[in-house]
């Protein structure tokens, strides 16, 4: 048994698996899940830093750093990280969101030592120099063009978040960052960001797969044990957005039809009401028989596309609805139907059969979300980073099963207040 690690117990993960919690002396958290169903492993490193930790003028830095982490280190020349991963048959990538940044490797089991070696190396030895910053700047600018500048949904999303949170709230700026900020990053900004946030006491390593626990812990201690904890800045809770009246914006865009993006403030992920909000989302949009889908797309034929998303953040988030109207149909007509359906949710108890139907879908999607090693590692990493519970996916399923018709009415009344909504109306612009 590795001496540098302290056991922090075991958490059941579904009916047959369990997550072991370990803590290294420098505060690196390690979560291990042994699953021998395939000869592969998934290695995740979750950092508790995302776009909400950025400052105005330096937005997008967390995401920019996600790119930087694939560059050279003191021990590894440029391109070598990816070359070694591919030579091992591995797949590697990363993602950044408001609360977190994570990196993953999927590898054959025997290549676990490589993941440990390379991840530990780039946690402390990354070279942050002008050359690397400049080469990534253009890639990230192109990513932004793809996801926002030429994409109506991306642009509308940015506008909605600005409207709903107000300019100074850290959820108001895009994870990709504003283009002017991307163009303005200095090497010193990047170094400071790295030094502050990329440290063992701000990270959780999650390993899922066909692994030997003692050998894995010993390797982890050897690779990470010498890294020093950083002095992490205070993490103030973002001030709740005090929205007291509806906010609206119009976006003119070269598109064939009107679009509507509506957002309401919604609970934090840890709140039980968030589970209810997820049920509300599925009552409206989950599956073909969901209320809004049936009315807007099928019966009234007002819209072709309907998407929704609800929260998922450490602090209060947004419940948003995206409606792609049919050509020539005014978005106001969809808004009127949405208002009717929200009023129904508030005013009438949901029939039990309808609620059970939504819960059955949730069960299928929960089970399907932990099929591969990578999916398990994602759920564990996300649960631990955002909620402090690596088995959150199963705890949430229990909460979803317990939602009652009265819960639905109460939470619908709480979330869908007209004064607390923001609306982006996309209007076709003549070519």
């Amino acid at each position: 048994m590795s001496k540098g690690f302290k056991s922090e117990g075991v958490v059941p993960f579904g009916a047959t698996l369990e997550v072991e919690r370990w803590r290294l002396h420098n505060e690196l958290a390690v979560l291990l899940l042994r699953d021998e169903s395939a000869p592969v492993i998934s290695y995740h490193t979750w950092f508790r830093v995302g776009s909400r930790y950025e400052e105005e003028g330096k937005t997008g830095l967390a995401h920019f750093f996600e790119h930087m982490m694939f560059n050279e280190t003191e021990n590894l020349p440029w391109g070598e990280f990816d070359r070694k991963m591919e030579a091992a048959g591995g797949d590697t990538n990363a993602a950044t969101w408001i609360d977190w940044t994570y990196y993953y490797e999927s590898l054959p089991s025997e290549e676990l030592p490589l993941a440990i070696e390379l991840e530990a190396d780039r946690m402390s030895n990354l070279l942050v120099r002008k050359k690397q910053v400049e080469s990534e700047r253009e890639v990230v600018a192109n990513e932004r063009r793809m996801a926002v500048e030429d994409d109506v949904r991306g642009k509308a999303d940015e506008l909605l978040h600005s409207l709903a949170y107000g300019e100074r709230h850290p959820h108001s700026w895009p994870t990709l960052g504003w283009m002017k900020d991307i163009q303005g990053y200095r090497v010193a900004d990047c170094r400071s960001f790295y030094k502050t946030w990329y440290a063992p006491n701000n990270a959780t390593v999650v390993i899922v797969g066909d692994l030997d626990r003692d050998e894995t812990l010993a390797r982890l201690e050897k690779a990470y044990g010498h890294l020093r904890a950083s002095k992490l800045p205070a993490r103030p809770t973002p001030k709740r957005s005090r929205q007291r009246k509806e906010r609206r914006a119009t976006l003119r865009w070269p598109t064939p039809s009107e679009k509507l993006l509506v957002g309401w403030h919604s609970p934090a992920q840890a709140e039980r009401d968030q589970a209810v909000a997820e049920i509300v989302h599925d009552l409206l949009l989950g599956g073909r028989s969901a209320r809004l889908r049936r009315r807007l797309v099928d019966e009234l034929e007002l819209a072709t596309r309907l998407r929704g998303h609800v929260g998922g953040l450490q602090h209060a988030g947004l419940f948003d609805l995206w409606v792609g109207m049919r050509e020539g149909v005014a978005a106001d007509r969809a808004l009127a139907v949405i208002e009717e359906e929200l009023a129904r949710l508030r005013d009438e108890p949901v029939p039990l059969a309808e609620l059970e139907k939504v819960k059955a879908r949730s069960e299928l999607f929960t089970i399907s979300s932990v099929e591969t090693m990578g999916e398990k590692a994602y759920q564990i990493g996300y649960g631990e980073t955002v909620l402090g519970d690596p088995a959150h996916v199963f705890a949430r399923l229990d909460e979803l099963r317990a939602v009652s018709p009265a819960d639905v009415q109460r939470v619908a009344a709480k979330i869908f207040r007209p004064a607390r909504r923001s609306i982006v109306h996309v209007v076709p612009e003549a070519a």
Binding site: G79, A87, E138, P256, S289, E371
Partner: protein
């Protein structure tokens, strides 16, 4: 050829991959006929047929059918390709039997109601209009049109506004009858189900199918126009472009397929491949830069895809062309071939990680009549390849000079001139984005 776990009394082969890890079962019903059967001028017919089938069986309204599936904790989609239709779903284990009954009912006796058809046509037309928002999809459509010309593979599976408008309900009903016959079917089940239960449920649900011929319709071999031809899809105010460059690829079962996979992997299949290294890593011109090797019953497309900023578009196209020429002229280095082989062999366990992934090659192998060892021997076949095998296969299959180049961008006169003067380009056609 892959051997099924069992056959129904009517001879429909059923393939299985059992796993009791999670209480979920995936079900696939593959119809080995696809949109190639669409009559010219009625492109989109098979897809409309699939979508109308999805609206429920006879005697069950669309609304009730959707409610039933959702209440079972099930998902169900029906998709269409050129060569096949696929009814695909997942369900919580305890509801497998009723779920199979619903799938079988919708496959054998769909309602195909006039009321639903009229609405579906309007929906399909509205979706084709919405496609104008999706630059990547527009560029891909233009690419296939240029590459395959008058060949059936050029015809979009979802049709066009004009062709969908011509489809009648009688066409859909006839198409369903033509497609859904026992000799055309292939069933797959993966997940938490025993072979005994699977056989009992499937035999109970998939009986009394229509009979028919096993002979599959065959598209003729596609032929390209000689030379390099550019189609420029003109869309206003683009800050970024979409670029597809390609030529004819492979037929499924081609004996040199493994060599081609290695070649494509080294050229544009991974993050360290030549294309990504030169376009993104060195120059930062495009967030993504990949090549794809297609294979079907006739030669599918080989293509490379990038999406450079508008300012970098011309340089990026020229770089891609020069990389492609160099790949064909000088081949890959021994080190590149070795790296690609190693990656493909070492990553192979991920192709077998879940029951669903393990089922896939069995279905694919049967559908295309591939030998038993085609997938099982994959690592050995890749390992046995040398540098010359790979480079010879690439040169033998991909045309250096006959290329289709589809670009979506704002078509300024300067851009048109620059593309027209790129190496080997014989023609440039500009198409407004809303006329695709």
């Amino acid at each position: 050829m892959s051997q099924p776990a069992f056959r129904t009394p009517q001879g429909v082969p059923v393939f299985m991959e059992v796993s009791h890890t999670l209480p979920v079962v995936d079900v696939d019903v593959i119809v080995m006929r696809g949109s190639l059967l669409d009559p010219r001028g009625k492109e989109g017919l098979t897809r409309l047929t699939a979508r109308l089938m999805r609206r429920g069986p006879k005697g069950t309204s669309r609304e009730v059918f959707d409610e039933r599936l959702d209440a079972l904790g099930a998902t169900l989609t029906i998709s269409v390709g050129h060569e096949s239709m696929r009814i695909q779903g997942s369900v919580i284990r305890r509801n497998l039997e009723p779920f199979l009954r619903q799938i079988a009912a919708v496959a054998k006796r769909p309602g195909l109601r006039q009321k639903d058809f009229v609405r579906l046509k309007r929906t399909a037309e509205a979706e084709l209009i919405q496609l104008r928002d999706h630059d990547g999809a527009l560029a891909a459509r233009a690419f296939r049109k240029t590459l395959f010309g008058r060949h059936a593979y050029a015809r979009p599976v979802s049709g066009t506004l004009a062709s969908v408008g011509k489809v009648e309900l009688a066409d859909v009903r006839a198409q369903h009858e033509r497609l859904m016959r026992a000799p055309h079917l292939l069933i797959g089940m993966a997940g938490d189900v025993t072979p005994e239960d699977a056989e009992r449920y499937v035999n109970a649900s998939f009986s009394d199918l229509l009979g028919g011929s096993t002979r599959r319709p065959q598209a003729r071999e596609p032929r390209m126009k000689s030379g390099r031809h550019v189609v420029l899809v003109d869309k206003p105010k683009r800050t970024q472009s979409q670029v597809y460059i390609g030529t004819l690829g492979l037929v499924v079962g081609d004996p040199e397929r493994h060599a081609m996979i290695v070649g494509n992997t080294a050229f544009g299949g991974t993050f360290t491949a030549r294309l990504m290294k030169e376009v993104r890593s060195k120059r930062g011109w495009s967030y993504g830069a990949y090549s794809k090797l297609g294979a079907d019953r006739q030669r599918e497309a080989w293509s490379m895809w990038t999406h450079p900023g508008a300012d970098q578009l011309v340089d990026c196209v020229r770089l891609q062309l020069s990389l492609y020429e160099k790949w064909l002229d000088k081949g890959l280095t021994g080190a590149e071939v070795k790296r690609a082989k190693r990656y493909l062999i070492k990553s192979h366990p991920f192709d077998l990680e879940t029951a669903g992934k393990r089922l896939e090659p069995k279905l694919h192998g049967y559908k295309h009549g591939l030998p038993d060892d085609w997938f099982d021997d994959y690592p050995q076949r890749v390992r046995a390849l040398g540098r010359a095998d790979v480079n010879d296969a690439v040169r033998g299959h991909l045309s250096r000079d006959d290329l289709s180049i589809a670009v979506l961008a704002t078509a300024t006169p300067e851009l048109q001139d620059a593309l027209r003067s790129s190496a080997g380009v014989r023609s440039l056609t500009v198409i407004p984005f809303d006329l695709l």
